[in-house]
Amino acid sequence: MIIKTDSERARRFIAVGVLSMLVVLAFSLESMAGVLVAPTSAIMTEGKRTTRLTIKNPSTDPKEVEVRFAYGLPESDSLGNVDIKLIDSAVTDPRSCMDWLKAFPRKIIVPPNGSQVIRLVANPPEDLPEGEYWCRLIVRSSEGSMSPPPVAAADAITTRLNMIMETAIVAKYRKGESVARLALLDTTAWIDTIAGRVSVLLDMESQGNVSYVGVINGRLLDARNREIMTQKLDIAVYRQLKRRLDFPVSLEGFEGPYRADIRITTRGRTDIPPEDVIAGNEISLTTIIPEDRRR
């Protein structure tokens, strides 16, 4: 005979209740999402000039979706702030492939809880030099206006703003042998007392013939070798890029001088299929955080 106390029953009831709420939440989050595009990058090669992307509509309404190509690479300023500026025309970069990639179909309606495959085809020029070529596939979907204009007299002024969402997926074409190689040009570290963080700025340059796509792993340690914090940052270096690794942490209770162990590697990307990652060199370094360089 199993005898349970009231408190055991209460705990069990609460646990089951919390679990059911989490499951319901996960279900509802997926249901209200916009269109999903998978995978997060489209890679083509000389031997495999086509690839497929799946657009999924997890909502209960049909979604009108349009795809097009644009050009844009991660670009950084002197402080390691990074942005991608998308350009639709007049692209002069010889590494752009937006003019010779095609997508089929380009306009679709994805039914509720349905999905649609988009096929990408590369038609590169015959005399294309070896290397990697880049652009972005833009997947545009529209919600239309969720709030119909208020019903008003014929002489009223009303507004309707259509909300349009765009997701940019990187598309790459590789020709010849692919070599991923990264060089670290400079490292700067400081303590930002106002923002309450320790920052390490890494100035990197891609020296292979493909973009260096990997991860920066960082460990912040104190003078007694105690780990204060770890951080991880996905990177894609196409030419030159400054990335800032921030450790938003209070140093109270820890002893200086502090140091950061940094490892940059092409291993550990969970968002890209392993067959699409070009293995490259690893960089490991330790940088002392100068306490007199507080900002």
């Binding site: 009303t158 969402m165 997701t167």
Partner: protein, 185 residues
């Protein structure tokens, strides 16, 4: 033997959980060909508009401003993706609305502090400085923004319409576009 007044309720909750879990698995299985594809779909970046910018009725010659903190009027985008991944966000904004029947224009202004980026995905009326970035310029959103730790970041956008004293009545329309990309790809 003592009775168990909570047992029936526990069983009911467990049945509900089982039903919901079955439904979830079913939905995730649709449109995908294998388990690997499903996993990739779940880390994909997605943008949803959960509310548009609502000005309601506007009077001739009277500007109307919507702030970033009005739950049912502020424009809201939700970005879902890999938790803590850095993202690039760009808003493409109109400078005027066009009358649906006729083409006349009405000025639309986005001031330099009319965006909030909320990495805790709260709501326009409850977001605080600790949730992300307040008072941002819509034409220059924060660099190195991230998908929140919970897998979602919200963008709240306010704006102002400026009708002229002789603005022709009617419905005026424009597009607001949010473009998002992972910075690590």
């Amino acid at each position: 033997m003592p009775t168990r007044p909570g047992t029936a309720s526990v069983l009911t909750v467990m049945v509900v959980v089982a039903v919901v879990m079955t439904a979830t698995v079913s939905v995730r299985a649709q449109g995908t060909t294998n388990a690997q594809a499903t996993a990739r779909v779940l880390t994909a970046l997605s943008v949803t508009a959960s509310n548009d910018l609502v000005f309601g009725n506007v009077l001739q010659g009277v500007p109307k401003r919507i702030g970033t903190n009005v739950d049912d009027s502020t424009a809201q985008f939700s970005i879902t993706g890999q938790a803590s991944a850095t993202i690039s966000m760009v808003l493409t904004l109109p400078t005027y609305l066009s009358r649906t029947a006729g083409g006349e224009q009405m000025m639309l202004v986005f001031e330099s502090d009319q965006v909030v980026v909320d990495t805790n995905a709260t709501s326009p009326s409850t977001v605080t400085a600790g949730d992300g970035w307040l008072g941002q310029n819509p034409y220059s959103l924060p660099s190195n923004a991230v998908v929140g730790a919970g897998g979602q970041t919200n963008v709240y956008l306010g704006g102002k319409v400026i009708p002229s004293p002789n603005q022709i009545p009617g419905t005026y329309e424009a597009n607001i576009i949010l473009s998002v990309a992972y910075l690590g790809t």
